[in-house]
């Protein structure tokens, strides 16, 4: 049985093959290597630390159970990210059933809120350090409804096409497009407002 140091020296592909043969320590190394990314994806969608930890751990358990199905067509971390996204979408759907729609959503349904937002003429993150930009993006994401945040995460961070997002979110491509448009416009305006706050 290989030691933890020996496992740490192996690439993902080799670790996956070992884990597929039942090597739990190889799987542990994969978890250690990618846990932050999987957790970050869960958090970007559900915006709750405890839920994100639970969902990311559930994703790892599911991955272990389905490891034999992984054929290596995508990278292991991409495959893992898809698993955690699906779990988060299920979680958000269940949560939505127990929650009244937000005012923001009602505004969107009544139409045209994004059209009242002024066009942001400058890059609102210009001159900022990367860490600061990330913090502001994270803060702005937290102010979006979960539908808008999810569509933005899937499109900008996962770089999925409209068709794929529609399939995963169980809605039409038109809905994906209008949600994405609203989410982007709102993000631009939120980042611009953070910039104004900084200057004033």
């Amino acid at each position: 049985m290989a030691t933890q140091q020996e496992h740490a020296a192996l690439g993902d592909e080799k670790l996956v093959r070992l884990a597929q043969r039942g090597d739990m320590r190889a799987f542990e190394e994969l978890v250690a290597r990618h846990r932050d990314k999987i957790y970050a994806r869960a958090f970007s969608m559900v915006r709750n630390e405890d839920d994100a930890v639970d969902l990311s751990q559930e994703a790892w358990v599911k991955a272990w159970q389905r490891l034999k199905q992984f054929q290596g067509e995508s990278s292991f971390v991409t495959w893992m990210t898809r698993i955690v996204i699906n779990l988060c979408l299920d979680h958000l759907r269940k949560a939505k059933r127990h929650r009244a729609e937000s005012i923001e959503m009602m505004d969107e349904e009544s139409g045209g809120v994004e059209r009242q937002m002024p066009v942001v003429q400058i890059n609102p993150t210009e001159g900022l350090e990367r860490g600061e930009i990330r913090q502001r993006i994270d803060k702005a994401l937290g102010q979006l409804s979960y539908e808008h945040r999810t569509v933005l995460v899937l499109h900008e961070f996962e770089q999925l096409e409209y068709k794929e997002i529609a399939k995963r979110m169980q809605c039409s491509i038109g809905t994906v497009m209008s949600r994405l448009f609203y989410a982007r416009r709102r993000m631009a305006n939120l980042l611009a407002s953070f910039k104004r706050d900084e200057l004033s």
Binding site: M24, E28, V31, A32, R35, D36, Y39, A40, F43, S44, E49, V53, S56, Q57, E58, W60, V61, W64, Q65, R115, V119, V120, Q121, N123, P124, T125, R130, I133, R134, Q135, I137, D138, L141, L152, H155, E156, F157, Q159, E161, Y162, M177, S178, L180, F181, R184, R185, M187, A188, L191
Partner: protein, 173 residues
């Protein structure tokens, strides 16, 4: 600006248009300052987001985080779903409604046969009591295509006898 053009602009930014549609958008915005401003905003926002995804770390130690996963895996492996049991459960989903349907069909056929039997005494089976004061008898003859209902009023003595204890109770009180 028309909402259709706004969404087309976005699809243009995302590379979701055909070459011909993309050319149409370029033509449409060539002399439209507002559309050009919106296009720039969409392009900037997308670029900023893609280059600056927030980075987060699990707020738990490696050992503690892994221990929960390991425990959950061990638990699921201790209670494997046996193939035969799983097969029975999946079969049961089909068998239960099928058995219910078969039972309903059987009862319907049996009831039809009872109603259409040629037994000469079958008409006597239909005796119904409507209330304690009235009884009814029905007679059906298939050969004469006839159905008769006879209502019979119960005797007053019988009705009084049934009610007597209640009167007695009232008197005693």
């Amino acid at each position: 600006m028309k909402p259709e053009l706004e969404l087309k602009l976005q699809a243009y930014v995302d590379g979701e248009l055909s070459a011909r549609e993309a050319r149409d958008v370029e033509t449409a915005i060539a002399n439209d300052a507002e559309a050009q401003g919106l296009l720039r905003e969409l392009q900037t926002t997308t670029a900023v987001l893609r280059q600056n995804e927030p980075q987060l770390a699990v707020p738990e130690s490696r050992e503690f985080y892994w221990s929960k996963i390991e425990r959950a895996i061990e638990q699921t492996e201790r209670e494997p779903v046996r193939p035969l049991v799983a097969f029975w459960f999946s079969l049961r989903r089909v068998l239960v409604p099928a058995a219910g349907l078969a039972l309903v069909l059987f009862l319907a056929i049996a009831s039809f046969k009872v109603n259409t039997t040629s037994d000469p005494l079958s008409h006597l089976a239909e005796v119904e009591s409507l209330s304690e004061h009235v009884s009814s008898f029905s007679f059906r003859s298939h050969s004469h295509n006839m159905f008769v209902v006879w209502l019979h009023e119960n005797t007053e003595q019988q009705a009084s006898a049934d009610m007597e204890p209640e009167f007695d109770d009232e008197i005693l009180q």
